[in-house]
Subunit: 280 residues, 4 copies
Amino acid sequence: MLHKTPYPEYADLPGWRGKLNEIIFGTETPGGKAFDVALIIVIGLSVVAVMLESVGSVRQRFGPELYVFEWAVTILFTIEYILRLSCAGRPLRYALSPFGLVDLLATLPTYVSFFVPGAQALQVIRLLRILRVFRVLKLASYLEAGGVIMTALRASRHKIGVFIFAVLTLVTVLGSMMYFVEGEAHGFTSIPKSVYWAIVTLTTVGYGDISPQTTVGQVLASVIMLLGYGMIAVPTGIVTAEMNLASAAARVCSNCGVGRHDPEANYCRNCGSRIRGGES
Amino acid sequence: MLHKTPYPEYADLPGWRGKLNEIIFGTETPGGKAFDVALIIVIGLSVVAVMLESVGSVRQRFGPELYVFEWAVTILFTIEYILRLSCAGRPLRYALSPFGLVDLLATLPTYVSFFVPGAQALQVIRLLRILRVFRVLKLASYLEAGGVIMTALRASRHKIGVFIFAVLTLVTVLGSMMYFVEGEAHGFTSIPKSVYWAIVTLTTVGYGDISPQTTVGQVLASVIMLLGYGMIAVPTGIVTAEMNLASAAARVCSNCGVGRHDPEANYCRNCGSRIRGGES
Amino acid sequence: MLHKTPYPEYADLPGWRGKLNEIIFGTETPGGKAFDVALIIVIGLSVVAVMLESVGSVRQRFGPELYVFEWAVTILFTIEYILRLSCAGRPLRYALSPFGLVDLLATLPTYVSFFVPGAQALQVIRLLRILRVFRVLKLASYLEAGGVIMTALRASRHKIGVFIFAVLTLVTVLGSMMYFVEGEAHGFTSIPKSVYWAIVTLTTVGYGDISPQTTVGQVLASVIMLLGYGMIAVPTGIVTAEMNLASAAARVCSNCGVGRHDPEANYCRNCGSRIRGGES
Amino acid sequence: MLHKTPYPEYADLPGWRGKLNEIIFGTETPGGKAFDVALIIVIGLSVVAVMLESVGSVRQRFGPELYVFEWAVTILFTIEYILRLSCAGRPLRYALSPFGLVDLLATLPTYVSFFVPGAQALQVIRLLRILRVFRVLKLASYLEAGGVIMTALRASRHKIGVFIFAVLTLVTVLGSMMYFVEGEAHGFTSIPKSVYWAIVTLTTVGYGDISPQTTVGQVLASVIMLLGYGMIAVPTGIVTAEMNLASAAARVCSNCGVGRHDPEANYCRNCGSRIRGGES
């Protein structure tokens, strides 16, 4: 990961734009933290409002209040988006970055609903803004925790890829077999539907909306279930093995950079300075 | 963990209060053990009685007997509570501690039912007293076992926090998407209900009371199922990695305190005294 | 595990009884192996026959054939039981051992059905004889594999005990809460039934025969599901940590007894003799 | 794994047959890669076509187009099969190898449907050709990833065998018990059906098409669920322990063959040459 300018938004701008950049995009100054926390609260409330509005009984009783709140948040987000654009290091790259697009899309639905009734339903896209919280949380010791998880997942991506491919082949082949074994009369109306059923079964979800009726079908279903039950050991083993390595590797001396210290060690074996973050 | 006065209840009181304190709050003397075992049995029987009373057919046949038993246990618990108060090191802090509050709440419902019929149903709170058993079990080698589990969970709390946040964001976003894809006609009557469905699906519970009907919905549901099936590897990997460390760290020499002995070692590598408890 | 006379049945008897003992109870001589394999086949066929007889359509068509087969197996098992008794080292202790009791109970139902019609249904107990197969399989490299699993499970029994207790307390408390939240109208007809539902939900089985209807109930159910989804990491972590140790410990030099060799090592680091069974 | 002629198809043939062999069976030359990628795309499209044709509404609208596409792919596969036969090192051994049989069976259904209407449904066997993709993917770093998984699974095959046997015995015994406890009135119509139900429950799939109604049955079902919930830790522990070893063993120096390098190491501890593929 690049430690310098990981996002196109940071910049050492002079004057009020630099100040604003520090508050809006920064996460380390008191002002930047306060802004992020306030933003998270507004996003959270806005998402709760969108969720509540979808409940019929709530919409009937608090419809006007939710309507006003919706517009207030939309205007707030619009001002925020304009400020972000005005103080970003490279405004265009920010606007086209995933976070920039989500920031824009979070404001549009309410305006569109002005012309096209019902469009405010699309506000649900605002939920994605919550992902920004991850960056805020990165400040503290969650940085290391998230880093260890990402390291383990990145290190095991090829093995996980092989596993996903094996699972998809399996549900396609077994689902197709079930289509021929059970047939349309028992709910397996097409191969795609049978593959869907195979996924429901292999992942041990088991809705029960479709279930095998014939003896051969139940034997085949038993094989799928036992496979799904046992195969979960494979990704678990993959991630755990990498997590073991990542966990150990995380105990890095902040002074000299030597890593993989014994979990019991309090001082670096190389330079003798104190090791922190052994908790992870 | 503080090894001195971990609870506000212990005290070196003189006379009968000290004796009583040892029996009621202590867990190491014969009297203290006997009291704890007796208490566990009474709590267990009382909980079974509350459970049976909720069964219609049992209530009809053994109603009066259960009514008498209920009052007997309530009076017993009341006396016990008064004794606990009288001999606790700091009575007020005990009364306000979680265990103290549960001890009090375990007696109230029956009295309240004297004035408000039906209130005895609240006796279910008595179930929480069973948690006290954990402290009793801590006496023996379960101390180490519970300690290793707690150490592993505490060490991985930041990683688990990141994971829980990721899961909650995922079910909110995916649940909202399902609300728009499937709509109210197929049982996804509101966003909160769709999020509930997403939790049912991601955790592979799969009741089947709500299930996707459209093709797009079934594709999206398949993605959620496969995510839930595979993502379980993450917390498992986190806890396992910490458990590996905690398990190894637990082999500590009781003489000199040096830990992390080889599982095969019988003698401390530092001072040569015998190592015990390598089992757990 | 005691390596001498692990079962009360072995004995160094003279004459035909010693010979018979070697064949019937032994698992290492050619005769003993052949007998065990034959026995497994007969038990397997007998169990399949019992299963098929429970299927209505099969019973109607092959009733007489299954009846004859049933009696043939019963007479065979009776003769075998008498021979086992006659050549066991300590006949009484064999007769009272779990395997001895199962051997006896496997023959009785058919005789009892002579006087009490329908009793042959109890033949299902014969299924338990299949457990004897484990001992036969122990012969080969499955000995080590089974040994590693048992070592890991035995080493983690205290931690697993703490976990089981936590799960049982959790389903009791949460099940009781659901009884009060949902009530009898929504299928939660009693506390035991609600606890049953909590087990169905926490273990992510999710039949869907009972499912929460109220908002509070669905929120509580979501908590139970997420707990069940995440808590599986605890026993997995426990067993994996022990399995890591047991797996490594299993690479023991058969010459000098030094264990825990590197998985890559082909020769003992202590005495230089070749290490086998590193595969496990 | 044999590195020389792992498949009977490779050969150092002279002239056009050697060239063709390199393209059709080879995976390392540009031509071989291009052929494999093209083949995967055609197989993928063909499988999608078979799946779509099983959907009633699609069949009605695009029936003729799918019919033409089906014949085009069949003729293409026939030509390919003849070319494979003509340039394989040992044509007969290729034709009788699993991949060779699948290649043949992938072409037959359409021809058979010429005489026997409906036989084209058997084209689903074409899905198995996708497994050939694994060999193509093996080219890159997926080779190592797949190798680590296979090594771990192969190393734990005896332990997994013991586990599968334990699971099958358990579902047979517990399923039979449920047949006697619940009886035919509650859906447990025969022992095989009850065993099927036990598999559905133990693997935590839980369709809910059959579920226990009696108190004893629900208690027994709870035991099965808790067993299934906890037992998943066993295969997970087995595979993880082996994955730990396989992951570490995979860091082998490509120069001198010394393995098990520290995950942090960049240079071989034996000969000093750079280590690659530590990522896996």
